[in-house]
């Protein structure tokens, strides 16, 4: 029985991530169109308009991936065939896997069973996420190398250098979070944010670690090579950078990796700083507002609300990243490295040290 629950959780976590990606694809298209004062993609139709109705958004959801899958898969003549298909696989599997440790709810109580809504309940989820982010580099470096093209190679090496430069800052921001909560388990961190500060304000991470939030967000966006840090793609300079020579579904997979990373950064920010699935004042048996007012809510509804809250927050932070992408100009490569090593890294270190000192100094005080 436990096995079935675990299997369902695994599939649910995966589906959450996948549907996020599809939705983001559309949001990116339409959102960027909105920002740039144009209409965007609106020509997707089923059967060329034979049907009397138009499914609207759903068309674009399906059209982009389906189109991509049906394109021809071209591998350049001198390219390394084995590496050519290995690169997208190695690039995306680690990213898919991170969602196995993201908690999407508290507990689901079905009769005798209390199911913890986190697909893989290791005690060290954060380490897994870091490991997978580290492995994500291989997609880029192999993709660039495999195509045997100067543009791709250059894009690949620059992209890899960028990714590893910001991995350190990301790690430091997360160290600060771990310091604050004393655990490597994401579900526990989400739970710990259910308390109230001074009995009124929910103890979300953003109040404890604002600097870490900023660092994580910036480093996360740089890590996923999103604009304003999208030099390795550099659409107007290196064609498509390290995935120039990829077509059809392999190219789709690389682009998907982009969106999955957006979702990962959003999930991290949500869980560490904004309470994850927490709804303010909502506990297992209902609302308990400060001042004593209580509303009873059945447990299943509580779980549902928490899952919805998680999805909404996730979506919100993905939306913010898309906004940032279409608002800021691209950063120069040396500025990018500058930011990573000379500003975020010292800031991250200082943040950790200050947090540590504060924790020790304030021991005994409860906030």
């Amino acid at each position: 029985m436990e096995v079935i629950f675990t299997l369902v959780k695994v599939i649910v976590a995966f589906v959450i991530m996948l549907q996020m990606v599809l939705v983001l694809l559309w949001v990116e298209r339409k959102g960027s169109a909105l920002i740039q004062d144009r209409v965007g993609a609106n020509r997707a139709n089923i059967f060329g308009g034979l049907l009397p109705f138009n499914l609207g958004i759903v068309n674009t959801f399906m059209a982009d991936p389906l189109k991509g899958f049906h394109k021809e898969d071209i591998v350049p003549a001198d390219a390394d065939k084995f590496l050519h298909w290995l690169a997208p696989i190695v690039g995306i599997i680690p990213l898919f896997l991170t969602f196995a440790v993201v908690p999407f709810g508290d507990v689901l109580i079905l009769g005798d069973y209390t199911i913890n809504l986190q697909a893989a309940e290791t005690g060290v989820g954060i380490l897994l996420i870091l490991a997978m982010v580290s492995m994500g580099v291989y997609g880029v470096v192999l993709g660039g190398w495999a195509s045997n093209s100067r543009y791709s190679m250059l894009g690949g090496v620059r992209g890899t250098a960028q990714m590893i430069s910001y991995e350190v800052s990301m790690g430091l921001a997360i160290v600060a979070v771990v310091l604050t909560y004393g655990t490597l388990d994401m579900q526990e961190i989400a739970r710990a944010q259910g308390e109230l500060m001074w009995g009124v304000i929910p103890a979300w991470g953003v109040f404890y670690q604002p600097l870490a939030l900023v660092i994580l967000f910036i480093a996360g966006m740089a890590e996923s090579k999103r604009a304003p840090f999208d030099l390795p793609e550099a659409e107007s300079e290196l064609v498509a950078g390290f995935y120039t020579e990829y077509s059809g579904s392999k190219q789709l997979v690389f682009m998907m990796a982009d969106f999955v990373e957006i979702a990962i950064v959003a999930a991290l920010v949500t869980t560490f700083f904004f309470g994850g699935w927490q709804v303010p004042y909502l506990y297992q048996d209902g609302f308990q507002f400060p001042g004593g007012w209580q509303v009873y809510v059945p447990s299943l509804l509580v779980t549902l609300m928490q899952i919805v809250a998680f999805l909404l927050k996730l979506f919100f932070f993905c939306w913010v990243q898309i906004l940032v992408r279409w608002s800021l100009p691209r950063v120069r490569y040396d500025q990018l490295m500058d930011l990573g090593w000379k500003r975020l890294l010292p800031l991250g270190l200082a943040n950790v040290v200050i947090t540590a000192i504060l924790i020790l100094a304030l021991q005994g005080f409860t906030v």
């Binding site: 084995f82 005690g123 380490l127 490991a131 580290s134 492995m135 090496v157 490597l184």
Partner: protein
């Protein structure tokens, strides 16, 4: 038990590919594969922290450095030199002797029943951390000096080449 044998075979296969393959990029990838298998073996032994650290640092950073160097130098797939055959044969024999020696030693009565049940919390982050920062504090601090030396050395050598 079955899991261990599967992992062992995979690890050895990966290691052999690393050493024997002509193309250095493939060797590096085989190294990543081997490291992954070792990490899973760590997981099977309940050493959770070390398993993930293995992936983060070794597979995720050090092999990336290897790949950079390989691509930087545009290392060609190597051709076997003439006259290497006697060397290869003797190397093979020595390796075989090593394997036989290790196998014999590990099944000797004094060593093979040395395993005891692990203390509570073995391999958990907290337990490892406690040991690391109390009993092993000096090696920990020395590690930082070692890393410092690595950084300074790398910078010095790189800049000498450039100027």
């Amino acid at each position: 038990m079955v899991l261990f044998w599967i992992l062992a075979v995979l690890t050895i296969a990966g290691a052999l590919t690393t050493v024997l393959h002509r193309n250095p990029v493939y060797s590096a990838l085989a190294l990543v594969f081997t490291l992954f298998q070792v990490a899973i073996i760590f997981l099977a032994l309940d050493a959770f922290l070390v398993a993930f650290l293995q992936v983060i640092v070794y597979a995720g950073a050090i092999v990336v450095l290897f790949l950079f160097v390989i691509m930087l130098l545009a290392v060609e797939p190597e051709e076997p030199l003439a006259g290497q055959l006697p060397l290869r044969i003797s190397a093979g024999i020595l390796c075989l002797l090593l394997v036989i020696e290790l196998a014999t030693l590990s099944t000797l009565p004094g060593i093979s029943n040395m395993a005891e049940p692990m203390p509570e919390g073995f391999g958990q982050t907290a337990a490892v951390a406690r040991q690391l920062f109390s009993a092993y504090m000096l090696p920990f601090e020395l590690t930082s000096v070692l890393l410092l030396v690595a950084v300074v050395g790398a910078v010095v050598m790189a800049r000498r080449k450039a100027s």
